[in-house]
């Protein structure tokens, strides 16, 4: 069985682009991906595509994947649209890795796209709640922010953490995102800004919530032979883990963490043969500030209840022990639902090749963590630097 390698990754600008379509934004991401490949790579090398989207707004609800690949001139290649809410493209990447590792394809395109900001307020409200558990959670009147806010209420009650710690997530991630030209909210914010914003769903305020975003991202996954041919510095997919959980928060044992994240991480670490201590950086799913705190614990960066301490002590700052969300995270970079998972890989690819906007010092191993809904589906991928000529 061959290993799977990332030989290119790119994204469109993340932001609000009412003049664009999901196809045109994906074309931007695809172009940047092709540019990121070291060698003279022709699109005819791509055998198959796995594209993630929730399909916010309805639009081309059926067959949007083929609509995208045909738009790009990838004529005739098999294309699967993957839907797992916010983890859609994390799962698309998983499909691509499986396809390559199985030997069925040599090169697979994984990616995602979402258009979220061109709808009326009413339609937006409708669509933002579709990934919560519908029959009970949604019909108790809660929103997506509301579910994570419930998680935050339980977390703040259970552990020695405060609203200020939630705000620290925003301060750190905005600090990173301010360096990322693709970021939607690429500006710095102070702790005071992040404490005094209006509530969205108490205890979460505006700075504890990611924005709605238009955007696309793409990753080229290749087998060893292709990686050797086209890449000077390919990035090895060292570990892939994924897990499902009950869709509703109320249905799960833990209100303060995401069990599927824990399981997916354990599987990814085992697959990669590493432990969390081996990580040099991580891109985690910070759709809401509480999600980043929970991720530290679910992914084994620290013990239960210790996440706030990590933040306070700067351990996840770019110069800390384990930098988290150097891209700006979902909070600052933006969260175009279906594009987020492979968008995280764009940062991992850049970091491991020494090309990141907020570059971590000589990283060898990094992780991406992509959560669907409030924890119904999670992927974790571990990436490893392949030093020149090693292949």
């Amino acid at each position: 069985m061959t290993d799977a390698y990332v030989i290119g990754a790119g994204q469109s600008d993340f932001g609000s682009f009412p003049g664009e379509s999901y196809r045109s934004l994906f074309a931007d991401a695809f172009d940047e991906t092709l540019e990121s490949v070291d060698g003279d790579f022709a699109t005819a090398e791509i055998d198959e595509a796995f594209l993630g989207t929730l399909g916010v707004g309805g639009r081309q609800l059926g067959l949007s994947g083929p609509a995208v690949t045909e738009h790009l001139g990838l004529h005739g290649i098999p294309t699967t649209r993957v839907e797992n809410a916010c983890a859609a493209s994390g799962y698309a990447l998983r499909q691509a890795v499986m396809a390559v590792k199985s030997g069925m394809v040599d090169v697979a395109l994984a990616g995602g796209y979402e258009i979220m900001t061109d709808m009326s307020g009413d339609h937006t409200k409708w669509w933002l709640g579709v990934s919560g558990e519908t029959e009970w959670e949604r019909l108790s009147g809660t929103t997506f922010a509301g579910v994570y806010a419930q998680m935050a209420s339980a977390y703040l009650r259970e552990y020695d953490a405060t609203v200020e710690d939630l705000s620290r997530v925003a301060v750190k991630n905005h600090g990173n995102g301010a360096q990322n030209p693709h970021a939607q909210l690429g500006f710095e914010c102070t702790l005071e800004d992040a404490m005094n914003a209006p509530d969205v769903a108490a205890p979460l305020n505006l700075y504890h919530c990611c924005p709605t975003t238009d955007g696309a991202s793409a990753v080229l996954v290749a087998n060893e032979a292709v990686a050797k041919e086209f890449s000077d510095e390919p990035v090895r997919v060292a570990g892939a883990g994924a897990a499902s959980g009950r869709v509703g928060l109320f249905q799960r044992d833990s209100l303060t963490g995401i069990p599927a994240s824990e399981t997916a991480a354990e599987r990814a670490y085992e697959d990669a043969g590493i432990s969390p201590d081996d990580l040099d950086f991580a891109e985690v799913h910070d759709c809401f500030a509480i999600a980043e705190l929970a991720a530290y614990e679910d992914l084994g960066f620290c013990d239960r209840g210790e996440a706030a301490r990590l933040l306070r002590e700067g351990e996840t700052d770019p110069d800390g022990r384990l930098p988290v969300n150097t891209s700006g995270g979902l909070k600052s970079k933006g969260h175009p639902i279906g594009a987020t998972g492979t968008g995280q890989v764009v940062e991992a690819y850049s970091q491991l090749r020494g090309e990141a906007h907020v570059q971590v010092d000589d990283p060898e191993v990094g992780l991406t963590h992509n959560v669907g809904g409030s924890g119904g589906g999670v992927t974790v991928h571990v990436f490893e630097r392949v030093d020149g000529g090693e292949l």
Partner: protein
């Protein structure tokens, strides 16, 4: 009429919010027709109020709803103009499917019809009179309120109906609502109205073959506090007896329910062995009088429901009633088909849970694989307490509600949504969690660890159908 049957227990429900006469006066610059009026919360209607009063009466009678064999309900404002609503009251209370039902409507005298139906029935009968009329805020709307009274009739009950009498006459224009309208109105021909009402009600009361000297307390038709005294001028009752049955200055003119709630007050005021009389009036017009004999004191839980309450501003009252703030939301809401909703009614109305026969875990809702051992099992039925503890909570601020809750939020304001943990009520221990919306509280005032109790309310409406279920209310701390 079986002489052995009587009222075993009663229940009273009045919406929490009250609009004071001062607020009405300040809004319109005229003196208010009532001291205060009860204002239903945006998620309340006569169905939810009926369930609330019915539950209290059954609890006071120490009866399980399954024991009820006849349900008679009366209102002038059923949630829909056509569609039975008694079966849904029964389902919410947990009555058996063999229940017989009777609905009286179209007149403020409907309560008398329901009371007589309960008194005449065989077996345990539950009678509920609930109303929440609406009217032009500048006219009838100034006095309109809401409330519900419930009565359990059974063999050996204390307060027996010993006689009844009806009088009717063609007398239009006094109080009416045109087809398709929610607005109660009248021609306001003061002398004509007062004379018709007084003559008809006093004729019905005089038609009772009872010893009027033995009457201790009376509840008479009361759109305002002054009218019962006018009616009583030609009756042999003193001001004290008439006053004991006046509740309109506490709850407002609650249509068919005011006279019935007044009956609760009158029964409470009657000495054991004395008589209590109620005189209903229905415009059109008819009057029905009933006489009760109570050998023992009837325990009527009056003060808790009548007193209390929370004063709201005039603007808030207009919002809660939906006079302003109603909304059509483009794009619709979450689509849960009616049959899928219907399948979950035992859970949504009565928190029916499941017990895994393999591992003993509690499942709510009881469907799919066991949440603990993940085996595909057939769950045993398990019941859950209607009180529990908040384990997670947030506030959905004004403007942030999902589309299906936009109108509720415009009318009732920001609301809290919580995950509640409740215990099983059977012999076997266990807990279940589920998400709920909180109501009748300041959402900012709720936190993890608070105790809450279930209330049957309107959840949301889609495609013209209102879906009901349990919301939760913080318990007094």
């Amino acid at each position: 009429m079986s002489s052995e049957r009587g009222i075993v227990a009663t229940g009273l429900y009045v919406p929490r919010q009250r609009l004071s006469g001062d607020e009405i006066q300040a809004a319109w610059g005229t003196s208010a027709p009532v001291d205060q009026a009860a204002v239903p919360t945006a998620d309340e209607d006569t169905l939810t109020m009926s369930v609330a009063a019915g539950r209290k009466a059954l609890a006071n009678a120490d009866l399980d709803a399954a024991a009820v064999s006849h349900l008679a309900v009366a209102t002038t404002t059923p949630p829909l103009e056509e569609e039975e609503f008694a079966p849904r009251i029964g389902a919410a209370l947990g009555t058996s499917s063999e229940l017989t039902t009777e609905t009286a409507t179209q007149s403020t005298a409907a309560g008398a019809e329901a009371l007589l139906s309960g008194a005449d029935a065989d077996g345990t009968a539950l009678v509920i009179v609930a109303d929440a009329p609406d009217g032009d805020p500048a006219e009838a709307g100034q006095r309109l309120g809401a409330g519900a009274a419930a009565f359990v009739f059974d063999e050996g009950g204390d307060a027996k109906v010993i006689d009844s009498a009806q009088r009717s006459r063609d007398a239009p224009g006094i109080r009416f609502r045109e087809g398709g309208s929610h607005s109660v109105t009248g021609l306001d021909i003061t002398t004509y109205e007062r004379q018709m009402i007084r003559e008809l009600v006093s004729a019905a009361v005089e038609g009772l073959s009872i010893d009027h000297e033995a009457v201790d307390a009376v509840s008479l038709y009361q759109p305002t506090g002054g009218l019962p005294h006018r009616i009583a001028r030609s009756l042999p009752y003193g001001g004290g007896a008439v006053g004991s049955g006046i509740v309109v200055d506490d709850i407002g003119d609650a249509g068919a329910a005011t006279t019935a709630i007044g009956l609760l007050a009158a029964l409470a005021a009657s000495e054991p062995g004395s008589l209590t009389v109620v005189g209903f009036f229905g415009s059109g017009a008819s009057a029905v009088a009933l006489a009760f004999e109570s050998p023992a004191e009837l325990d009527v839980d009056l003060d808790a429901a009548l007193a209390g309450g929370e004063q709201i501003s005039y603007a808030e009252a207009l919002r809660e009633r939906g006079t302003i703030g109603s909304a059509e939301v483009a794009g619709g809401g979450a689509h849960v088909s009616l049959p899928s909703w219907q399948r979950t009614l035992p859970q949504r109305y009565r928190l029916e849970a499941g017990r895994c026969p393999e591992c003993g875990a509690v499942a709510f809702p009881p469907e799919g694989a066991c949440p603990d051992c993940h085996e595909r099992v057939t769950f045993e039925t398990e019941s859950l307490a209607r009180t529990g503890e908040i384990v997670a909570v947030t506030v959905i601020g004004q403007g942030g509600a999902p589309p299906e809750f936009v109108e509720l939020q415009r009318r009732d304001g920001p609301f809290a949504v919580a995950i509640v943990e409740v215990e099983t009520t059977g012999e076997r221990d266990g807990t279940a969690r589920f998400p709920v919306q909180l109501t009748d509280c300041d959402p900012e005032d709720v936190s993890v660890g608070d105790e809450v109790a279930g209330r049957f309310r309107r959840i949301y409406s889609v495609e013209g159908v209102t879906r009901y279920g349990l919301k939760f209310v913080p318990e007094q701390r």
